[in-house]
């Protein structure tokens, strides 16, 4: 065996070692989260309210808040992102205006989420006087979510072959009808995957929320679904600590005796939720595609 071959063997062995080391780290991460966390998860843990000073608190309200904020943020951002993606896909010409638009979306997507959170704090909490509330949090998450969701939807739209568009236009339909009624349905699998993946990101976001949705989770009356009552779960003006914020909060200043158990349980729930989002993004996207292309 000559020198270069030996060198090659050696280098590749090194690469394998590096990759192996990374695998160990990744495996440790996931293993740690689940091994320390899963034993702490019980129905009681998932449904009961948190306790500030005693052991045995749960994450029920935080979990509900996380989902509620996610749904609201998605409901607000979806039409905006869809509209923006449609403009980029259909109407944007190759000129300075388009490149300015694309640059500003990139800027927004790379902004640190804490900056987005502070902007939300300034605008919604202070300026609009919404206070630390669901609505402030949802609007801030919308800003956080818009650039990535727009990009995901635009990617899915541009994956649809051009002849679909041509077909619509050839029938005397407008570009707008063509995109809304032909291209969007055809790209639905991709769009749905994109939405679910974005949901995972929104679900785990904390920095954008600590100064907008707040860091406290007042008790809720789960029998009262009138959004105008302040202790109704649906009330948009109540402060709402989410699961991700909860993990940060109790680790920063929590004093309950079972701090570690609550944190690791919450972390496991969070990662589990993300895992479910990831898997379902693939699964649902594929199912929708199959449904569309074969027998109904």
């Amino acid at each position: 065996m000559n020198r270069t071959q030996k060198q090659s063997r050696f280098a590749i062995a090194c690469l394998k070692a590096v990759a192996g080391f990374v695998v160990v780290i990744l495996a440790f991460l996931i293993g740690y989260i689940f091994i320390t966390g899963l034993p702490n998860i019980s129905w009681h843990f998932l449904t009961s309210p948190a306790k500030a000073f005693n052991a045995g608190g749960g994450i029920g309200i935080q979990l509900f808040n996380s989902f509620y904020l996610l749904v609201l943020a998605m409901l607000i951002s979806l039409p905006i992102a869809l509209g923006a993606a449609i403009y980029l896909n259909v109407y944007a010409k190759d000129n300075w205006f388009t490149s300015m638009i694309k640059t500003s979306i990139e800027i927004l997507s790379s902004l640190p989420s804490v900056v987005v959170g502070l902007f939300g704090f300034l605008l919604f909490v202070v300026q609009f006087n919404y206070g630390f509330s669901i609505i402030s949090g949802a609007l801030t998450l919308t800003i956080f979510n818009l650039p990535l969701l727009t990009r995901n939807i635009e990617d899915s739209l541009s994956n649809v072959p051009d002849d679909q568009r041509q077909g619509g236009l050839g029938l005397g339909l407008s570009k707008y009808e063509t995109i809304i009624h032909i291209v969007v349905p055809a790209s639905l699998p991709g769009i749905i995957s994109g939405i679910i993946l974005c949901s995972g990101r929104v679900f785990g976001e904390a920095a954008a929320l600590i100064y907008t949705a707040g860091q406290s989770a007042p008790a809720l009356n789960f029998a009262d679904w009138n959004p105008f009552n302040i202790d109704s779960p649906l009330s948009p003006l109540r402060p709402a600590e989410t699961l991700a914020v909860h993990i940060w909060k109790i680790n920063s200043e929590g004093i309950m005796p079972d701090l570690t158990q609550v944190s690791s349980g919450s972390a496991a729930v969070l990662v589990l939720a993300i895992l479910i989002f990831n898997l379902s993004a693939r699964f649902i996207g594929r199912k929708v595609f199959e449904r569309m292309t074969s027998v109904k």
Partner: protein, 271 residues
């Protein structure tokens, strides 16, 4: 290029066996010039298309035949600049005031690759009508049956109208696309190499369908398959290097072309 310029001086390149004053001319182009950016892609094509005939546009790739076809129902809008007049039943449709959607409804188009929408067969055919506010189930049912019959695919799909059109074979899908174009009741049907993605059997069936459709529609078809043009069309235009070189009855273009270049092309000595 030099060759082409010479040809321009010969007057008898476009030979019409009909009297344009008396015959029904559905479409006509005058002084057409098509630019991609600043590049002239297509010019010198003053052509007339007679009602209820099939005219084939033939020529090598890049000869401008597809560009020409797409100009006829303004599908080049936003892609290329089209100057000159495009007359549809005597009305110049190449002017800004014209409603391009109405134009495209009357001048339908079928594309190279079958492009059924990701919808059911039924919705594919009725989609454009529904967008125009026609929702009456009986009307739509009737349209579906008529157009699919016209496109000669009714027997194959009548039991699976709710199936996704994406599950159809290439030949069937292309016919559904034809039915879809017919559903909005156009006058003119433009076809851009509609058989290039089909197998020989499907191609033959498609040609039979088109021959049948000629009774009700004016058909203009781009093809680079010369046998197809010879079998199918009444008139043939030969395009080369962005110009219409020769127009005549199909038989004459193929047997006694007036221009040497056409002769070279149809006899396969081209290049």
């Amino acid at each position: 290029m030099q060759n082409t310029t010479e040809l321009n001086n010969k007057p008898k390149r476009f030979i019409y066996d009909f009297n344009p004053e008396e015959t029904d001319i559905t479409m006509q182009t005058k002084d057409l010039e098509i630019y991609y950016g600043k590049t002239l892609a297509m010019h010198n094509a003053d052509l007339k298309f007679q009602k209820n005939t099939i005219t084939a546009l033939i020529g090598p790739s890049g000869s401008g035949k597809s560009t020409f076809l797409r100009a006829l129902n303004r599908m080049n809008d936003g892609v290329a600049t089209v100057k000159g007049e495009i007359l549809y039943q005597g009305v110049n449709i190449n002017q800004p005031k014209i409603d391009v959607y109405e134009v495209r409804r009357r001048i339908g188009m079928v594309f190279q690759r079958p492009n059924p929408f990701a919808k059911s067969i039924y919705d594919n055919v009725t989609f454009a009508l529904q967008r125009r506010g026609i929702h009456d189930k009986k009307t739509l049912d009737r349209v579906v049956e008529t157009t699919l019959k016209q496109a000669a695919v009714w027997d194959q799909v009548k039991d699976s109208l709710n199936k996704s059109a994406l599950s159809l074979s290439g030949g069937q899908a292309q016919r559904v696309c034809i039915a879809r174009a017919l559903a909005v009741r156009p006058d003119v049907l433009l076809l851009d190499e509609p058989a290039s993605a089909l197998d020989p059997v499907s191609t033959q069936q498609l040609e039979a369908t088109l021959r049948e459709l000629k009774k009700d529609y004016t058909i203009i078809i781009v093809t680079h398959n010369m046998q197809q043009a010879a079998r199918l069309s009444d008139y043939t235009v030969f395009f080369n290097m962005g110009e219409a070189i020769e127009y005549n009855k199909t038989r004459k273009v193929f047997t006694r072309p007036k221009v040497q270049m056409t002769d070279d092309y149809v006899s396969g000595n081209f290049g």
